[in-house]
Amino acid sequence: MHMNAVYVMWLREMKRFIRSRSRIVGALGQPLLFLIAFGYGFGPVFAKAGQGNYLEFIAPGIIGMSIIFTAIFNGMQVIWDRQFGFLKETMVAPVSRLSIMFGRTLGGATVASIEGMLVLIIAVIVGFRPSSWAGIVPAILVMLLIALLFSALGIMAASRLKDMQGFQIIMNFLVIPLFFLSGALFPLNTVPSALLFVARLDPLSYGVDALRYFLIGVATFPIALDIGVLVGITALFLAVGSYFFSRMEV
């Protein structure tokens, strides 16, 4: 592992992020809409069903949503770099492709976690109150873990795709199902067992569950299971992603 290469690839992601203010703002619009429309729109129904405050419930889910979208989008940047040629520059550099991949993943994950934190702030502004403020710190660590997992997944997918057409497929058949089936929008403890089974296969379910545990003190799975699954899948995706990335031909 070449730490300088990891650092410089991370730095590149950060520079690009800071410079694209329109993207930051754009990426916050959707979560805000979800929080208001769902949080307040479904709130009364949710309360009537005896499940409590819906805004409190979905805020961690919406944070998870913004992280998965930003992280995968960032990982898929590899396709852009391939299209615009910059990828070749990194592929002929005398550093292991593992370091390049790792630097990119860390950069994408940092960006996605920052988005997650911004969504948390927005949620607080529209009325969300965490059950304990002390839970914020571990919640941020969970955000980073979710972000790492999905950045690695994004790079993994991008390494296998040749063009932008594939991007839509990934969005429609991977990211959107991962989000909707994760229990980000509904409680998993009351759903039909078939849906629960599918949700259990979705790594985002554990991420959102861990966020709920730390932010509102409610969880479906044991927290140790959540963290264990997140760490395990992240390690797996990083390994597979770097293998695919290192085999890439441009």
Binding site: H2, N4, A5, Y7, V8, L11, R12, K15, R16, R19, S20, D81, F84, G85, F86, L87, K88, E89, T90, M91, V92, A93, P94, V95, S96, K162, Q165, E249, V250
Partner: protein
């Protein structure tokens, strides 16, 4: 002189399609080598194999004493490359692009700043160093890529059609640098071009590839003598014929076009 690039029986297949077949040549240290051929002849595929971007199907390559397949990182520090199409990060400034390159290539920090200044002066981009690359013209991007390719003091510089789309002034200027670098620093130059007069003027040795096979190699004079012609362009046309070639965008494109042709799938 020692050969710094030694290619033996190099072959690359994409599916059933043979892009490069049994190619052998060598480039001596400090030489200027022109690799010529019509579109789709296998030039870029060969360069990609030499520069560790593609894995050969068979054959051996030795660059600066090492095999790119076995010791890619050593080989990668030995050369700089200017690709056929741009490979800069448009969202970074000229300076940032060079800095990123320097870090990736492990140029020591104290040396990096000096070297970047030197290179920017060489390509006359010093006053534009804080500008974003996306605002650069084609010629400026090319110059920046050359500066970047030379930043880490490589022993070999690969230039894949470096003058494509440049005006005569910039082209002239570019070849003057390249010749100066070759003379002053002893950098080995390996280039491709479609402008025969460039190869005639600059190259000490020339190889011509067509349909993936090397059909002639030697000095400019040798090639002309061999074909009884008076210019390299005539020699080239005599050797490769005057049919117009079709070329898919790149190797990937080529293999995909091929797959479509043979499997009848129409994915796009």
């Amino acid at each position: 002189m020692e050969a710094i690039i030694e290619v033996k029986n190099l072959t690359k297949k994409f599916g059933d399609f043979v892009a490069v077949q049994d190619v052998s040549f060598s480039v001596e240290e400090g030489g200027i080598f022109a690799f010529l051929g019509p579109n789709g002849a296998g030039k870029s595929t060969t360069i990609k194999m030499i520069t560790t971007l593609l894995r050969p199907t068979s054959g051996t390559i030795i660059i600066n004493g090492h095999d790119p397949a076995i010791n890619p990182d050593f080989v990668r520090t030995s050369f700089g490359i200017v690709f056929q199409d741009p490979s800069l990060d448009d969202d970074l400034t000229a300076l940032e692009n060079l800095h990123l390159h320097g870090i990736l290539y492990g140029v020591p920090k104290d040396m990096l700043k000096r070297r970047i200044d030197e290179m920017l002066t060489l390509v006359e981009l010093t006053d534009r160093r804080h500008d974003f690359v996306r605002d650069f013209s084609g010629g400026m991007k090319r110059r920046l890529e050359i500066a970047r390719g030379l930043l880490h003091h490589p022993k070999i510089i690969f230039l894949d059609e470096p003058t494509l789309g440049l005006d005569p002034q910039t082209r002239n200027h570019l070849w003057s640098y390249v010749q100066k670098l070759n003379a002053d620093e002893g950098i080995t130059v390996f280039f491709t071009t479609h402008y025969m007069e460039e190869a005639e003027r600059v190259a000490k040795k020339i190889a011509i590839i067509d349909h993936g096979v090397i059909i002639a190699q030697g000095s400019n004079d040798e090639l002309k003598k061999q074909t009884s012609t008076t210019t390299l362009e005539e020699a080239f046309l005599k050797l490769t014929g005057s049919d117009i070639r079709h070329e898919a965008g790149n190797a990937l494109e080529l293999s995909r076009a091929h797959q479509r042709m043979w499997q009848g799938t129409n994915r796009r």
